[in-house]
Amino acid sequence: MTFELTVNDKTHIVDAEAETPLLYVLRGELGLNGPKYGCGLGQCGACTVQLGGKAVYSCLTPLITVGEREVRTVEGLGGVDSMNPLQQAFADEQAAQCGYCIAGMIMRAQALLDENPHPTEAEIRSHMQPNLCRCGTHMRILRAIRRVAAVPAGAAA
């Protein structure tokens, strides 16, 4: 079946089975690397993308459910030479070890900042809850988000 899909402001026609999770469409059909397979179960957030502005697990989002909603991946925020403020904050904080979780982290955090540009520390921590990092980069991830949200460190609510 063919579907029209708007990803990172570009419209694509993709040919795939209707149930195919967005993750495999983005990676396999559109050649994007940002969303990662971590569990395929909606438990780790490595595959997080924005769908209609909200952070969703692309591994559990069948192609047929996307409809008109816009998809955004980390590629859509900025590239190596054109990072958006959040990506830049991750770079400034060197907020990555293996980095496998990071694209998902950025996409989940971006969804929060889009909706609430100045979240409290407690709001950041609870919003990021669904995403796992095994390397233990959490403190830097929090710092990077805080940088953009302009929350002072240790301002835990």
Binding site: A18, L60, T61
Partner: protein
Amino acid sequence: MLAAMAAGVLALGLTWRPTISAIDRPQAGSFPAAQVNQGAILAKLGDCAVCHTATGGRALAGGRPLATPFGTLFASNITPDAETGIGNWSYEAFRRAMRDGVSRTGSHLYPALPYDHYTHVTEGDLQAIYAYLMTRRPVHAPKPDNKLIFPLGFRPLLAGWKFLYLRHGDVPYDSGQSARYNRGAYLAEGLGHCGGCHTPRNLMGAEVASKAYAGGIAEGWRAPPLNAENPAARKWTADSLYTFLRTGVSPDHSAAGGPMGPVVESLSSVPEEEVRALSVYFAAKMGKAAPAKAEAEPVDRPAEAVAAFPEGARIFAGACAGCHGPGAPMMSQGRPALGLSTDLTDSEPTSAIQAVLQGIEPPVEGRGPKMPAFAPSLTDGQVAAVLGYVRTRYTHKPAWNHLEHDVRQARKEGGQP
């Protein structure tokens, strides 16, 4: 409703209750350790900490909001802090609150504190709970003000409510039943206040006695019937109930979702015998006319379901089958098939909708069945389509009507995105 309340007030002609004088906080050492330990178990069975602890707050220090049809109530601080908690409450004051729903200063308490159940708790058990609470570390935590619809903030009205609905007295002992059954009855009807969720409530928020355990609503989830109408595909036995109450999942039924999670968490650490007693009691209640067979093969009708809900079938394949489909890891690890899920066989789609929207968190030590929330990714129509599909595929029950409308409603009530 107001008229009824006013009538109650007039009929009683007396709403005023005296203040019970403040005491100095009793010395922790004045309570025997055995009594405190017993109180700790009873407090778990009564789920005290579940309501009286705010997210991220200190245990029992209150502040947790409780949304009711009548407004938002905040749980009080029940640590023995003299100023903001119950540190200056005598046992008499405590007992009056638990039995009559009246605070130390004489004001009426909202029945969010289930004194209509706690009133059945024995004197010895109340004393033990008091001993337990008074030996906690005091936490200074003032309670936020309730936000209720006018005129319900006027507490004397509650006297009318009590006149109509509060019934004192012991839970009757059924000598035709085992001691275990009777222990279960005592726990369920009293401290456990199981009817608080599993019995439907009337317009005044009171449990409808004639429909005990016919199923109710809790925080937007449906608490299934625990009587002969229980819709489980496989019959609940005392053993399977025990496993469920202890761990939050029964391989023959389903996983605990929503407000049942914290209940399971409490029950996971009380003595086994208490949970066995509850299990025997409810197995008997549900067993009276149980339609289900103990070993019923789970229904699975993919062809019918695809035909009826083609879109739902595709959503299921991409969003659900990785856990619930054949060959999925969850299935090879012995988790219940959807064909056994009470949420799907229930006459109301409420809990099924909530499980999809909010997901399920493992109740005990963060370990166990974990389902992600689909509220951000699936539209109301898509949730309805996939639930229509699973209802058809995994049950023989008639399709739920107005599913999409119910999903929209549930999303609104649950404050889901």
